[in-house]
């Protein structure tokens, strides 16, 4: 009797154990960059977008689903549990051999290596390599088919205040800031010296009168802080532009000495100098000045920041990231602006700002695979960002060494980059000009579809708040957000509303409005509003968005 009871209990227990589903094994895949809409509809977790492929995590059952949808994939790593992955920029084929003693490395694209530690070892990647930690967060919701845009030459509307702003850039102050930062001996993110450098940056920004705060975060058993200062916009403070750089450094002996003058006291000095100058000028939109930490460990600081911004659904319209902007291997040194396809407008706008305010040679590089600075953390969260860098691949021979000091830098080049960055940032955030009409607020869009039995016409009905003293308004439209606005009205619009007619399905339209006074002076552009009619299965769908990232059905 007793035996039978025990046996029954045993079987019951066995049944219970086997009825608990075993967690499925997760695999890391590489999927050819197409069919992003299918991946989205299947809710496949895409972790990174590179130039030619997506890096995806999928269970075994999801692999069968991908097979059934005829999606080409290759398994990079089976069972990725507890593994930390890094992308490493590879300059030449020998790089993979250099990495092999430290872990597993696979070439996944021409310039991209996937690296992960061997079971028995801790994470160590030689300082000479640029790296980015593979985030475990999904980017699937931000996947968009790359915009099919031919960028045509355009011009920006010049603002008389901007030349005054860029004239204020001080070489002496830039040198002072780099010198001060390198004098912390090291700013390696795990050290007390880095914390002291953070305190210095905080005090500098706070003393300018900006609202300043730390954002603490932890990484690989350590903790560090980003330093954030904000200048609120007067017209639409919810529209945010960011200028940022990482202030931590590294070298071959990072815990002891890593002056990091070019990488990245130079970028940090650009952020602080921009803050010093812009603090005096009222702006239409909000500007945040951010110095990130732990970039050299794999972009931990900027990742913490962009994740928090996305959680709060902040309306970050553009991010200007400066990383290594003071070493020139040749003269004149051009500036490289690296963007992903979605952020290309930001590079174009920089080129236009350069033409209008400070002519300087710029080389635009469109690449989703350049992930090795803080801009990539913003791309990861669907925000538009660029990385300004002296050279890609890096040509500074002192990169990540103890010789990266102020005396190796070209301060004229740095000054030019800061002027250019400031011109772009000012152009985006719009300094308010005394004596000009106020920038219109409250721009709203309503779609109106007129239908016959077989056709429809799609119009946009725009309305905005009246501006005191304005005798009329101009309405501008573009199909690339924040770039190349074209005036729609022939004569000024007298009322505070306007209907734009016969819009096409499948094209995004973006609008801004300006106010005119009796002497013909025209205000800054209002906040941008966007609209898209998408072809649906049965009826056209409509999206209204205030910037490309913010969709509202």
């Amino acid at each position: 009797m007793r035996v039978r009871r025990i046996t029954s209990l045993f079987f019951l227990l066995a049944f219970f154990i086997f009825s608990i589903p075993f967690p499925e094994q997760l695999n890391l895949l590489k999927i050819k960059k197409e069919k992003s809409d299918v991946l989205k509809s299947l809710n496949i977790k895409v972790l990174e977008e590179l130039d030619t492929c997506y890096i995806v995590v999928a269970t075994d059952s999801e692999l069968s689903t991908l097979n059934s949808f005829k999606i080409d994939f290759s398994i990079l790593v089976k069972d990725i549990k507890d593994k930390d992955f890094f992308f490493i920029y590879s300059k030449n084929p020998e790089d993979i051999k250099k990495l092999e003693p430290f872990g597993n490395a696979i070439q996944i694209e021409e310039n991209t290596i996937l690296f992960w530690q061997k079971e028995e070892m801790g994470i160590y990647i030689p300082a000479e390599f640029q790296k980015k930690r593979l985030s475990k967060d999904s980017i699937t919701e931000f996947l968009r088919a790359p915009p099919k845009i031919e960028f045509t030459e355009g011009e920006i509307r010049e603002n008389e205040v901007i030349p005054l702003i860029i004239e204020e850039v001080s070489e002496d102050n830039l040198v002072y800031l780099i010198d001060t930062l390198q004098n912390f001996q090291t700013r390696y993110a795990s050290t007390k010296n880095c914390e002291d450098a953070g305190d210095f940056i905080y005090s500098y920004l706070k003393n300018l009168g900006l609202e300043t705060y730390f954002q603490p975060f932890s990484f690989r058993g350590y903790s560090s802080r980003n330093v954030i200062a904000e200048k609120k916009g007067k017209t639409n403070p919810e529209d945010i532009f960011i200028i940022c750089a990482h202030y931590d450094s590294t070298s071959n002996i990072p815990a002891i000495f890593a002056p990091g003058a070019d990488d990245n006291a130079s970028g940090t000095s650009a952020v602080l100098e921009s803050a010093r100058i812009l603090v005096k000028y009222p702006l239409d939109f909000t500007v945040r000045f951010i110095c990130f930490s732990a970039e050299e460990w794999g972009l931990y600081g900027s990742n913490a920041y962009s994740s928090s911004a996305r959680d709060k659904n902040e309306k970050i319209i553009g991010v200007l990231n400066f990383d290594m902007i003071a070493y020139s291997d040749k003269l004149p040194e051009d500036l490289e602006i690296i963007v992903n396809p979605k952020s290309e407008w930001l590079a174009e706008r920089t080129i236009q700002a350069s033409k209008a305010y400070y002519d300087y040679p710029i080389r635009k590089i469109v690449s989703s695979s350049f992930l090795y600075s803080d801009h990539a953390s913003f791309w990861q969260k669907g925000y538009d960002a660029f990385c300004a860098i002296e050279d890609n691949p890096i040509r500074n021979p002192y990169y990540h060494t103890t010789y990266d000091t102020l005396n190796t830098l070209n301060i004229d080049f740095l000054k030019s980059v800061v002027k250019l960055g400031l011109a772009t940032l000012s152009d985006l955030s719009q300094p308010i000009r005394p004596g000009y009409p106020e920038t219109p607020k409250g721009l709203k869009a309503k779609y109106v579809v007129y239908k016959s039995l077989f056709n429809s016409v799609k119009n946009i009905y725009l309305s905005w708040n009246r501006v005191e003293g304005a005798i009329g308004y101009n309405v501008y439209r573009t199909t690339i957000s924040h770039l190349n606005y074209k005036k729609l009205n022939v004569v000024p619009v007298v009322n505070n509303f306007f209907e734009d007619k016969n819009l096409k399905t499948g094209i995004s339209y973006y609008y801004v409005v300006t106010a005119l006074d009796s002497s013909g002076r025209e205000s800054n552009y209002s906040q941008e509003i966007g609209i898209l009619f998408e072809r649906g299965n049965s009826e056209d769908k409509f999206f209204l968005f205030y910037s490309p990232q913010y969709f509202e059905r």
Binding site: K451, S452, L453, N455, N502
Partner: protein, 191 residues
């Protein structure tokens, strides 16, 4: 138009050769009132006034064949919530073919029948360059009443319900171009 006439001629030839008993050939000229069945159609164009010319032939006993040509022109405005006005024109030409059974009640003649209708239509936006043309086949049922006025002349009234469905439309569902039609006119007995 030539195509429609060709169809009519072929039909006449067919009837003449195979079916026509030689006892009956009538032509009718009718004016009507069209009430589209779909609310969107009515909202855009309202009701219409079709014109209809028809031929009917006796096949056997009380069984008759009929065909004809009908057209209707409508004017309307695109529907939308905005302030803009977009005038529209809609032209529809139909060729119905039907079979009907005739009853005689004293001097009155009544009929009930069913048929197919081939519809050719074109919609045009007058203020912008936008138009759509198409063709569809539908079906219908009808009833007639004839009151003799003279030896060869009768007064005719006809009530028709038709459905001409098009999947193509600006609406999430398709659109029915048919509806109810009432016709009044005269009929002349040729043979």
């Amino acid at each position: 138009m030539i195509r429609i006439l060709n169809i009519l001629l072929i039909l006449l030839f067919f009837f003449h050769q195979k079916a026509f008993s030689g006892e009956h050939l009538k032509i009718s000229f009718l004016l009507g009132y069209f009430h589209p069945s779909q609310s969107e159609f009515r909202e855009i164009y309202g009701n219409g006034y079709p014109k209809y010319f028809s031929l009917s032939l006796k096949i056997k006993n009380n069984l008759f064949l009929s065909t004809g040509y009908e057209f209707v022109n409508l004017r309307g405005n695109a529907i939308g919530e905005g302030e803009e006005s977009y005038p529209l024109r809609f032209e529809m030409k139909n060729v119905p073919i039907s079979i009907f059974y005739r009853f005689k009640f004293k001097k009155l003649e009544s009929a009930i029948g069913i048929g197919l209708i081939r519809s050719f239509f074109k919609e045009r936006w007058e203020s912008i360059q936008l138009e759509y043309s198409g063709r569809k086949t539908g079906y219908f049922g009808f009833t007639n009443l004839e009151i003799p006025l003279a030896k060869v002349l009768s007064f005719v009234t006809s009530l028709r319900f038709e459905r001409i469905y098009s999947e193509d439309s600006a609406f999430s569902k398709g659109i029915d171009l048919g509806g109810s039609k009432v016709f009044f006119g005269i009929s002349i007995k040729v043979i």
